[in-house]
Amino acid sequence: MFQLSRRGILKTGLGASALTLTGIPARAADPLRIGFLTVKTGPLAAGGIQMEQGMLAWLKLNKNKIGGRDVELMVADTNGVPATTRTKTQELVERQGANLLIGPLAAFEALAVADYTEAHKMPTLGLAAFDEGTQKGAQKYFARPTSSAGQASHVLAAYCYTELKMRRMAVIADDFAYGHQQTSAFLRVFEDMGGKIVQKILPPLNAPDYGTYISQIKTNLDGIFMGFAGSNGFRFTKAFFEYGLGGKIQLVGGLTAMDEAILQQTGEDAVGIISGNFYTPSLENPENKAFVAQMNADYKADPGYYACGPAIVAAVLDAAITKLGGKVDDPDLLISTIRSNTVPNTIRGPVKFDAYGQAIGNIYVRKVTRAGGKNTNTVIKTYENVSQFWTYDPAEFLKNPTYSRDWPVAKNLEN
């Protein structure tokens, strides 16, 4: 009835627990112990389960090896509650002797454990898209091979301005840090180029209905940027079409507004929606083709934002640990190797890191196309080697406040 979630249960569960407590240095024959922080219960569970699926699919494809070493994946369910995340992180580090951590899923979880993982010199490969992690609060033992919250928004804003010739846009986003940071990044680049954000709407994360927000939207717009998470992109798009606005104003979305997890549900309404992301399952590289095939075979789903992250992390780790000959005992060496490496063949394409631990890599502008009853996020333009600071100077960039609800100030709002 209950699934035992650990392969290591016999070893860690009963009498022999003392063996794993003292952190005996790992020999090369020992498995690589990876602590995987995800969410399997509570409101964030949908994404968290996809995250675990992505990791498992990558491991299956790679014979359960990273950097030549067998992997013992220790999955912890954080319940999406920061206090539990902290307890689970302690468990992985202190009791289970993790060599490194992957995760957690949400920004507030990552912030809740940041000081702990730093103090314990625990190399952590982040997945949560929040700007603090690699900007003002940049941590030494941290690297994020996916993206910051604003990284793809910068690109998309430039694309909207130069390629789509948009000048007047509205932004609508979930009213929490992830939504704010995506919209603020978009707003900054779009207005710096000369465009105007004339309307900013921030519905609560759990808005029961988007009708009241859609009725506020101006009609004389070139486009609307959506900074939605979870299923909100789907719900907004549906309502947008129900109110007869579909096709009249171009919709563009951030990282998760048109995520694969909701793309098929959105049906024909999704066609033509443009979004920016560091990954899309239709990428042609062989690593990605194999990964997508594995995900389809095991879980009958295309990998989206949550599932692709662990596969990118795993490839980055694989390269670094191979380079170190399988040795991961020195956290300083491990994290500096990860950060100084250039990995040419992750599923998102090549990945290298900046001085703050954030990946520099391709950002794809994608458009939803439909064929045979199936929606696909098809790449229409690739921006290579995109930094989290876009074209701004990092030092100058970091002098400004972190992207938030109130910064940068939207100067051109019309009400």
């Binding site: 209950f2 035992l4 979630s5 407590l21 920061p82 468990e91 202190e94 009791r95 920004a107 507030f108």
Partner: protein, 313 residues
């Protein structure tokens, strides 16, 4: 006889608690024990309302949250020392309870439950949306625990000892309240409010004092919570946190001293330890609750007590 048995039980428990740092194989387990005892203080404080006053609240995490935020904010953003931050947090938590008491004690039963739920949600909403003050969903982090009276609380054993001491103080205070005239009045207003009024007691005032003392001990739990996790976010005063405290009280046995503590320990162990081995730990938590409620409707502690008595006879 029963008094002696109960004293013996408490003495054994105290010895067990004192031995824990030596028995447990690592700081991790001591950390779990600490989490359980911190949340036990919250459950105990809620039991003043439920067990003594007969008022079930679904907003009790508000006091924990307010005082935890107060500690975190004053420490992190104003640079206050713990000696100043802790009294301020306790005062603010108690003040919140005063305000909530005035609003919530207008109603009884379901109405009271709903008002406390609403007030709790207001606090959650404020924590979530008032980003300048609370950091929104990102919460407030603290760098390290303070050094108090020469104790470096960053040491897991030291912090555990402090938490144990606070729990013991809470237990004694609640025991004293229980056995005081005020405790008797509180139980009187629970069972026979009309008679109490006839006897010349100010029922509202008695309830208010009960409500505010529950809030005060909730704030105490909040201070411990902030230092325990070194992070405070909206989830600290969310509805699930309030409901969990209520569950702990009901599971362990309302109106007993040991009940809320037992409930807190059982739920924390399921949440943190069992959940590492069982994917569907939520289901397990639900099943545990159903079984306890159907086999021991009064909760674990009264249930086990009466079962032991039955066996002896």
């Amino acid at each position: 006889m029963t008094r002696f048995a109960s004293m013996r039980g408490w003495a054994l428990t105290l010895i067990a608690l004192a031995m824990l740092p030596f028995i447990l194989p690592s700081d991790y387990y001591l950390g779990i024990a600490t989490h359980a005892l911190v949340i036990a203080v919250l459950a105990l404080s809620l039991d003043i309302l439920i067990g003594q006053g007969g008022m079930s609240s679904l907003g009790h995490a508000a006091y924990l949250g307010v005082s935890a935020y107060a500690v975190a904010w004053t420490t992190r953003n104003a640079g206050w020392p713990a000696y100043a931050a802790i009294p301020f947090a306790l005062a603010l938590g108690t003040l919140t309870a005063c305000v909530f008491g005035v609003l919530a004690l207008r109603a009884r039963g379901l109405g009271f439950l709903m008002i406390t739920l609403a007030l709790g949600q207001v606090m959650w909403g404020a924590a979530y949306r008032w980003v300048d003050l609370t950091g929104g969903d990102n919460g407030i982090r603290m760098q390290a625990r303070p050094v108090l009276l020469g104790f470096d609380l960053n040491n897991a054993t030291n912090f555990y000892i402090i938490v144990c001491a606070v729990l013991l103080t809470t237990l004694i205070a609640i025991y004293k309240l229980d056995h005081s005239a005020l405790g008797a009045c509180l139980r009187g207003t629970r069972d026979q409010p009309r008679r109490m009024r006839m006897l010349g007691h100010d029922v509202w005032k008695i309830r208010f004092v009960g409500f505010v003392s529950a809030g005060f001990w909730g704030a105490v739990a909040g201070v411990l919570y902030a230092y325990d996790y070194l992070y405070v976010g909206p989830s600290a005063l969310s509805l699930p946190q309030s409901a969990e405290a209520l569950l702990m009280v009901v599971l362990g046995g309302a109106g007993t001293l040991a009940g809320p503590v037992a409930g807190a320990i059982v739920i924390t162990v399921i949440k943190t330890v069992v959940s590492s081995y069982v994917d569907r730990w939520y289901t397990l938590l639900g099943l545990t609750f159903i079984i306890v409620v159907s086999v021991m409707p009064k909760g674990l502690v009264p249930g086990i007590r009466s079962w032991m008595k039955g066996n002896r006879a």
